[in-house]
Point group: C2
Chain length 328, copies 2
Amino acid sequence: MSIRVGIIGYGNLGRGVECAIKQNKDMELVAVFTRRAPETVSILTESAAICKIDDVANWQGRIDVMILCGGSATDLPVQTPEFVKMFNVVDSFDTHARIPEHFENVDKVAKENGHVGLISCGWDPGMFSLNRMYASAILVDGSDYTFWGKGVSQGHSDAIRRIEGVKDAKQYTVPVEAALAEVRTGSNPELTTRQKHTRECYVVVEEGADKARIENEIKTMPNYFADYDTTVYFISEEELKANHSGIPHGGFVIRSGKTGWNGENKHIIEYNIKLDSNPEFTASVIVAYARAVSRLAKEGQSGCKTVFDIAPAYLSQLDGAELRKTML
Amino acid sequence: MSIRVGIIGYGNLGRGVECAIKQNKDMELVAVFTRRAPETVSILTESAAICKIDDVANWQGRIDVMILCGGSATDLPVQTPEFVKMFNVVDSFDTHARIPEHFENVDKVAKENGHVGLISCGWDPGMFSLNRMYASAILVDGSDYTFWGKGVSQGHSDAIRRIEGVKDAKQYTVPVEAALAEVRTGSNPELTTRQKHTRECYVVVEEGADKARIENEIKTMPNYFADYDTTVYFISEEELKANHSGIPHGGFVIRSGKTGWNGENKHIIEYNIKLDSNPEFTASVIVAYARAVSRLAKEGQSGCKTVFDIAPAYLSQLDGAELRKTML
């Protein structure tokens, strides 16, 4: 029998989850829940229902895993503890500093209601976290480096759009090649924020806007740009649409460490990803973990989990014997 | 209390395990077991005993995890089922084709005796297997590529040494850069053996040996070299010692796949390692998993396990809350 999946929130991530479910033959999308009027929403899966989020309680017992596709700022801190009362859930909560608090909130309710709630699933947090953890457990004496990009940062793009005179904007976070190369030598460099990433901004302005002022406002914006070498390109609306409408991303997790009785040997472990679509890749990670959550729940487990708590085999459609034969 | 570890077999891997234990403050090497006369063996850890392998039964109850550092051809198929009767064990059995059979043998005895036996731990099988598995669970529609090197292949070096007139030799397996580059474009190429790796041989010959004959024998050797572009360098014994006495290795696991409703977006996941010392890195992976095995055994688990069966958090010295705070 298929794993019956529901989606709450149908934006880029929700649509990515829908596409990923289609690729996984042991899964079935049964319903999408939205805040919008269902009749105004069109989805890709003909067999799935489109429902109001207020109706979600009626679906208890008909959905094995609910995937929460809302945002980390305001949706998930409320939704994940709320919906784990009724369902096994997976979210992609990515506010790193608030993960411990979110974990506690979800864990309490999940245990009280006998459900599994997997939080902070995706690639960072998610696969990058896993790789930081594995690599640091292996190379005990070493240093970790995470680089992001080249890819679109939604938060930075939004920050530019809020500047007066800006019509639209796309911001790319770009890892500095020289820093990557230095890390890969195993020299364990200490790198400043500015040395690790640069920022590239593609900006469309209103007619007659003061470009010099806008460029200055971007480059000096605290938290977002002031600590980085930032390049601003003013382009036309057509060019933005033609060349910058995708949502690519990627990044690198590198651990450099020493082994030997006196640390005489150096080693580098690197994990990197290059993504055409950030939300679709995130969704693909989430869907593999939704399989794991459904299996854990069937085993009678409950509580809040992260990627650290789940044995890899739970993610795969193959059983143990097949995995050992084909992948070990 | 420390995790008490024993080592059976004190070659390159055993010594690597000893070094790795020193780096892990929650572990203690209590004894090394060897086939040689103990008085002829000197180890690095002053506090550890050196014992005959025949005495191992006397150490039951004093060792939490026994790490088996013998070879896959003849040692481990016998030793792992034998010693899992008495101890929780970890081995690095790496004959991929015989893993299912080895698993069954170890699983039966481990369950009968209430012990945990982790097999095929290291980097391939081991971390490479994990990365093949995670990546294929995430990018369902895609292709896997594993490249090895640049690094020393013991088996190929030995094969050259068996040729008449050869005094010593070191063989490096080298991934073909152009093939790596093609895989990274996401074009999902089908690559032949010859297209993926080349072989570089550094050979010291006896005085007056027929180099042309030796080079021909190497290049046409079935299974080992005939399917590869092989380069042979004749060098002096001094040069071999000066420039080729290390045991470096490395490699790449790459998955390239598509997502989207119609597979319209491409993604690349890459894991790569670059190692100064193959046995010390393998040992570092094994020691992290020895921690996991000790914890699983404490929980009352038993049977044969692989890296697929073990939740990542079990490998780390940090507890769940610390992991979530610092690594997620």
